[in-house]
């Protein structure tokens, strides 16, 4: 490893690859931000420029925020994502603890089922979930947006892997100290697995903030729409082909995610690489 790091050709190659992929990923993003500050006339110009001749950002962003109920969609996003995350952790942490540290008949079978759930595409389940939601009478409410995601196989699996790295003796010590099994989960395992929890939180929030498919099915009322659905509605009704405000709205929607990711980046890598707390 350390030899590779100092070998110039390999290092150059690695950086070229990283820079190329990085650029490819970033271009649409930069383009979006660039369009969001351009006046309508400049957007479809033939020659390419990142920065507009006439700065139109304030007008575009004002329009994005005022001409539709974008702030309301974002509030919906916050409510839905927070609820999903809280319930996911409440379900996944005890489940993962049981799979990682307790011995009971059928444990491997249940773990197998979790893994199967992990490879099942979400979309496959949307019809049954829609019918279930209909029978529960919760379609077109926040609950409809939340309930399919409460049990996260990915969360259970990620937490289980992390909990497994925590020594059994810590669990034993906690039992002798008088903690109940649930107290062990919340007072010992979850705090020790904080990097994994944060990594999972980012995945969950990003996924559900940006989710379009299920909200499209589950809600029709604009009052419950999460941001991406809100943008679609916004595009159809208000802006038409007015791409400046549309891109401004998209930038506003993505903003909180970028801030969240950058501030939690340190734990994100720790959590996914499964580095146990020492």
């Amino acid at each position: 490893m350390s030899i590779n790091r100092f070998a110039p050709p390999a290092a150059i190659f690695r950086h070229v690859v990283l820079l190329t992929t990085g650029t490819l990923i970033l271009i649409p993003f930069v383009w979006m931000v660039s369009l969001s500050v351009k006046p309508p006339g400049e957007i479809f110009r033939e020659h390419f420029s990142l920065w507009p001749e006439h700065f139109y950002g304030i007008a575009n962003y004002t329009k994005a925020l005022t001409s539709s109920s974008l702030p309301h969609y974002m509030l919906n996003g916050v409510i839905v994502c927070t609820m999903i995350l809280a319930l996911q952790i409440a379900v996944c942490a005890p489940a993962a603890y049981a799979l990682a540290k307790l011995n009971f008949p059928g444990r491997n079978l249940i773990l197998g089922m979790v893994l199967i759930a992990l490879i099942l595409p979400r979309e496959v389940l949307s019809l049954p979930l829609f019918i279930l939601g209909y029978h529960l009478g919760i379609l077109n409410t926040y609950a409809a947006l939340i309930f399919p995601y409460v049990v996260s196989p990915f969360g259970i699996f990620l937490f289980r892997q992390f909990f497994k790295t925590i020594p059994d003796d810590v669990v034993h010590a906690a039992r002798l100290d008088g903690l109940s099994e649930l107290a062990i989960v919340w007072k010992i395992m979850v705090p020790m697995a904080l990097p994994a929890i944060i990594a999972f939180a980012i995945f969950s929030v990003v996924g559900h903030w940006n989710s379009l498919f299920w909200p499209l099915i589950a809600v029709r009322d604009q009052n419950f729409m999460p941001p991406p659905l809100g943008i679609m509605a916004f595009k159809n009704e208000e802006a038409g082909n007015d791409y400046g405000p549309l891109m401004a709205a998209s930038t506003i929607v993505v903003g909180p995610l970028i801030i969240a990711f950058l501030s939690a980046q340190r734990w994100f890598v720790d959590g996914l690489s499964g580095a146990a707390v020492k």
Binding site: P167, D169, V170, H172, A173, A174, R175, L176, D177, G178, L179, A183, I188, P191, M192, L194, V277, K278
Partner: protein, 391 residues
């Protein structure tokens, strides 16, 4: 009252038996060490006592009360783990106060924020903090209370682990190889501190180790375990000088006891490695025995009334006050090791022959089944069978 009784404890993982009908009684206030090589089941026995694992059969009593199926926290036993098992996200003070908080505060009072507002929480919390501070002071870790375990040295962590166990005044103190992660110097120091702790607290200690020095220095009694069986339970001196079983004799003592094959050549005479030793064991003539001779039982030189073993010096180890001499003896597979006074070094050199005499009363005899044959004891079964064959 915190005596401990194990009654015919059996435990197996799958088809592998870990404990085979282990029965053991530990008196109130006793320091008992479970000694054995790794994998002998000693830690499993301790965990069964703590309630962390369940036995397949048998009964455990603490203070005369059957505790099978009683949850660990209700057993009034505290444990110090080899890895210390401190909670890394909590400060030393939080680590030590957790067992008290779990016992003295109810579920509502333990809630963050709300708990503090409930009646009684403040008083109890202050009491707990005071007790933690007292314990920390007694262990000399009061300056570390605000730190987290990650910032402590091995010895300090060890003390915190002891403090966490001590703070709730358990009836039984369990220690699972608590010193094996420390360096040699610190180990000796902590060993003395644990001994002192036991004298001060006066409660029952059950200590698990594979280190015979720890077992010998700390314990009132040592229980030697091998392959899931208790071989002998006795005070350290007795375990060393008067072992019941060949395996105990071989496990205890450094350098290892010399094991030499011998035959009863005539009534009261045992011939071994080219010499004859007077012996008052009652074994029949022709019986095969194994003689266990501790390295320090040898004396330099041959005396007519004692058996003398002669051989070629193969290796000399200087240990300061002592000298370990390895001798190749004809008819003995392993080199015979003798511990001699260092002053004798001048008269011994590698490659030369040497005669060692042994006092007959210091020789231990073992039968073919590994059991000890004592003086005026019945002959070993194997020996008897052999006699029948020849007759």
């Amino acid at each position: 009252m915190s005596s401990i009784d194990f009654h015919e404890i059996e435990k197996s993982y799958g088809a592998t038996p870990i404990l085979k009908k282990v029965s053991l009684s530990i008196a109130d206030g006793e320091f008992l060490t479970l000694l054995g090589p790794s994998g002998c089941g000693k830690s499993t026995l301790l965990r069964i006592l703590a309630g962390l694992e369940l036995q397949n059969a048998g009964t455990v009593l603490i203070g005369g009360r059957v505790v099978d199926g009683v949850r660990p926290k209700k057993r009034d036993a505290a444990m110090v783990f080899q890895s210390y098992a401190l909670y890394p996200h909590m400060t030393v003070a939080d680590n030590m106060s957790l067992p008290l908080r779990m016992r003295r505060l109810n579920a509502w009072q333990r809630l963050p924020l709300i708990g503090r507002l409930l009646p009684g929480t403040r008083g109890a919390s202050q009491e707990i903090a005071a007790e933690v501070a007292r314990t920390a002071e007694a262990l000399g870790i009061d300056h570390l209370l605000t730190r987290k375990p990650g910032h402590l040295s091995g010895g300090q962590r060890q003390r915190v682990a002891v403090g966490r166990a001590m703070v709730r005044h358990p009836a039984v103190f369990l220690m699972d190889e608590p010193l094996s992660n420390l360096d040699a110097k610190l180990r000796v120091q902590m060993r003395a501190e644990i001994k002192e702790l036991h004298q001060r607290l006066g409660v029952t200690f059950v200590y698990v180790t594979h280190d015979q020095a720890e077992a010998m220095t700390l314990s009132d009694r040592v229980a030697v375990m091998l392959d899931g069986e208790l071989l002998q339970v006795a005070p350290p001196q007795e375990i060393y000088a008067d072992p019941d079983d060949r395996r105990v004799a071989e496990f205890i003592g450094s350098p290892k006891i010399n094991m030499i094959e011998g035959v009863v050549s005539a009534p009261g005479r045992v011939s071994v490695a080219g010499t004859t030793i007077a012996s008052d064991i009652r074994a029949d003539v022709g019986a095969h025995l194994t003689l266990g001779i501790r390295p320090e039982a040898f004396r330099l030189g041959a005396y007519s009334e004692r058996g003398a073993i002669s051989g070629t010096v193969r290796l000399i180890e200087h240990m300061g006050s002592d000298l370990y001499v390895h001798l190749d003896v004809a008819g003995v597979k392993q080199p015979v090791v003798a511990r001699l006074l260092a002053e004798r070094a001048a008269s011994i050199s590698i490659g030369h022959s040497l005669s060692l005499s042994v006092e007959p009363e210091r020789v231990l005899y073992f039968g073919d089944d590994g059991r000890r044959i004592r003086a005026h004891d019945k002959p070993a079964k194997a020996a008897a069978a052999l006699v029948r064959e020849t007759a």
